[in-house]
């Protein structure tokens, strides 16, 4: 069964639950979002989560849909026999989602159906089940299925994010590494410190995160297991210890060390702690990101006089420059299909997130906010999260890869930054 992973989704985080600190404000959507009606699911009244609300919010946030308010609905069908297409055509809905929730001794099972109102046909019927604490997972699974059936793109509503929060008050818990759902809900503090934390990175199997912590009064790279909270210090070299990036097979980290004099890129085999130097240049080399085949790294270097993106082959050490537009291009991230590089680009003194087509080299500005940085692409390649400033506070924002859809996730406290969007759970 497609959603059987929901049953297995037991992530017992050794972490502190906190109030949801991120909310969502849509700042721009596509011109003609597809109207969709998500009918409140029968049997879901009085549950600890409003499933219909979560699904509608997911679809709205994707930018491709305009959920129809439930107060406008003329009927509340729960199965095919009760669906009258005419009612939904009158509301202008192109698609309709109905379903019913059954409580089977504390386990919730949702049967849900997607209809094409225009061609008057059922697209699918699916089931998803989980416990009371998994009601949000159930809702996101519905969103994923609906989104994929209509757009042809795998939904990423069930994925997770990491970010760093700075409460901006000196003290033990000033800097926090936070784990949350992709919509900002169910946030948990994975680690907190009086000293700075940065550069969180997911392992590809989603079981661990790597990050930089200054808790020893110097930077060091740590790996933390999500299930147990167990932390392992991976590096303790003189100088920089930064920018960890997991290899596609999770066996190695690419990272930046300056122990040999200049910031250089290395790979560190996690099991053996074997270190291998990749770059050798007196300039700054930093912010490595693996290509999907694990054979090269793309990275930032100012070896040409200003920060630009380069690619280095791990086998030959050959370095190739990838960006030529502008005098500041940094922190590259490859899209999941490898066709696009996302980076931080400065134009006229303003920092934007831009995309560059790998083949043609064409660059496109995606964001026009203030001090945009740290882009992190969703595993389906549809959107990216980045850090920006809004009303003098650090906030997270998202933009679709075609720049059409934009939303903000403002924080309720402190500065929020350094987002890392998780891979798909296997």
């Amino acid at each position: 069964m497609k959603y059987s992973w929901i049953f297995l989704f037991i992530l017992s985080l050794f972490a502190t639950p906190v109030m949801a600190r991120l909310t969502i404000e849509i700042t721009s959507g596509v011109d003609n979002p597809t109207p969709i009606a998500v009918v409140p699911f029968a049997g879901s009244l009085g549950l600890s989560e409003d499933i219909q609300d979560i699904v509608s919010a997911d679809l709205l946030r994707s930018g491709f849909f305009r959920p129809i308010p439930k107060t406008d609905m003329l009927s509340m069908p729960k199965a095919e026999a009760e669906v009258f297409y005419r009612d939904w055509r009158m509301l202008g809905a192109s698609y309709l989602v109905v379903g019913q929730m059954t409580n089977m001794g504390g386990r919730y099972q949702l049967q849900f159906e997607l209809y094409d109102v225009i061609s008057q046909r059922k697209i699918f019927q699916k089931q998803v089940a989980g416990t009371d604490s998994q009601l949000r997972d159930i809702a996101h699974a519905v969103s994923d299925a609906v989104y994929e059936a209509i757009t042809g793109i795998r939904g990423a509503f069930s994925t997770k994010i990491l970010y760093v929060e700075d409460l901006k008050q000196a003290g033990a818990g000033r800097y926090r590494l936070v784990y949350a759902d992709a919509d900002g809900a169910r946030d948990r503090v994975l680690f907190s410190s009086s000293e700075p934390l940065l550069s969180p990175a997911w392992s590809n199997d989603m079981s661990k995160v790597a990050y930089v912590s200054f808790e020893t009064s110097r930077p060091a790279i740590f790996i933390q297991e999500l299930a147990t909270g167990k932390r392992t210090q991976m590096t303790n070299f003189q100088g920089l210890n930064g920018a960890p990036a997991w290899s596609p097979d999770d066996q190695s980290l690419a990272l930046v060390l300056s122990k040999d004099g200049n910031p250089e890129i290395y790979t560190l085999e996690i099991a053996t702690k074997k270190l291998r130097r990749v770059t050798d240049h007196f300039a700054i080399d930093t912010e490595p990101n693996w290509t999907a085949d694990g054979r090269s790294l793309i990275f930032t270097s100012n070896r040409g006089g200003s920060p630009q993106i380069y690619q280095v082959s791990l086998a030959t050490g050959r370095v190739e420059r990838l960006t030529f537009e502008g005098d500041y291009n940094a922190r590259p991230r490859l899209s999941p299909d490898g066709k696009t590089i996302i980076m931080v680009h400065r134009r006229d003194g303003i920092f934007h997130i831009t995309s560059q087509d790998v083949k043609t080299g064409n660059m496109r500005i995606l964001t026009e906010t203030w001090l945009d940085e740290s882009p992190s692409i969703a595993p389906n390649g549809a959107m990216l999260l980045y850090a920006t400033q809004h009303q003098n506070k650090g906030v997270l924002a998202a933009v679709s890869m075609d720049a059409g859809v934009k939303f903000r996730l403002p924080s309720k406290q402190g500065d929020v930054r350094e987002p890392a969007w998780s891979p798909f759970s296997k």
Binding site: L198, S217, G239, L240, G242, E287, P307, R346, L371, E373
Partner: protein, 165 residues
């Protein structure tokens, strides 16, 4: 200058001895014999001579930089020469913390902060300070001196802070 350091040092030794003596006085204290046996007061006072930072008290400890640059500005040189003069003869060590403003990416700024700290370190080493007395660490843009956007804030954040350990 050197003379005043010397006379201050002697004064510090004398004061240290006095403190040491007075702390040994209470005979009722069951630990008194023990305390007297350590001679801690005398030892500490000699360290105090070396720890005296009054010679560098008036010198700047923050050194500023241009955007995306790790080139030491001329206005910082005089103070650094003073610090170097002191460090050459003292057993103290220094920690140099490099910082960047909030513009640009965080890990690149981490590297930039290190470059700035290294620029100050290299200058001190050229002035004859042993590199073993200098620790450098970069905080990138993670610890701004002042918050807020704009060049007036940025210019205060692109800096190296020197502190004696």
């Amino acid at each position: 200058m050197l003379k005043s350091i010397k006379s201050f040092a002697i004064l510090a030794v004398v004061m240290g001895l006095m403190v040491g003596c007075s702390s040994n006085k209470p005979a009722e204290d069951p630990n008194a014999a023990n305390a007297a046996g350590t001679g801690a007061g005398v030892t500490q006072s000699t360290v105090d001579v070396d720890n005296d930072l009054s010679a560098v008290a008036g010198l700047a400890t923050v050194f500023y930089f241009e955007f995306d640059s790790a080139v030491l500005l001329p206005e910082g040189r005089a103070a650094l020469i003073g610090h170097a003069e002191f460090l050459r003869n003292a057993s103290k060590s220094v920690r140099l913390e490099g910082h960047a403003d909030e513009r640009g990416t965080r890990e690149y700024n981490m590297a930039l902060g290190e470059r700035r700290a290294n620029a100050v370190r290299d200058f001190l080493v050229l002035q004859g300070v042993s590199s073993s007395k200098i620790e450098t660490v970069s905080y990138g843009e993670e610890r701004p001196a002042v918050s807020g956007s704009g060049e007036s804030s940025y210019s205060k954040n692109r800096r190296v802070e020197l502190s004696y350990q």
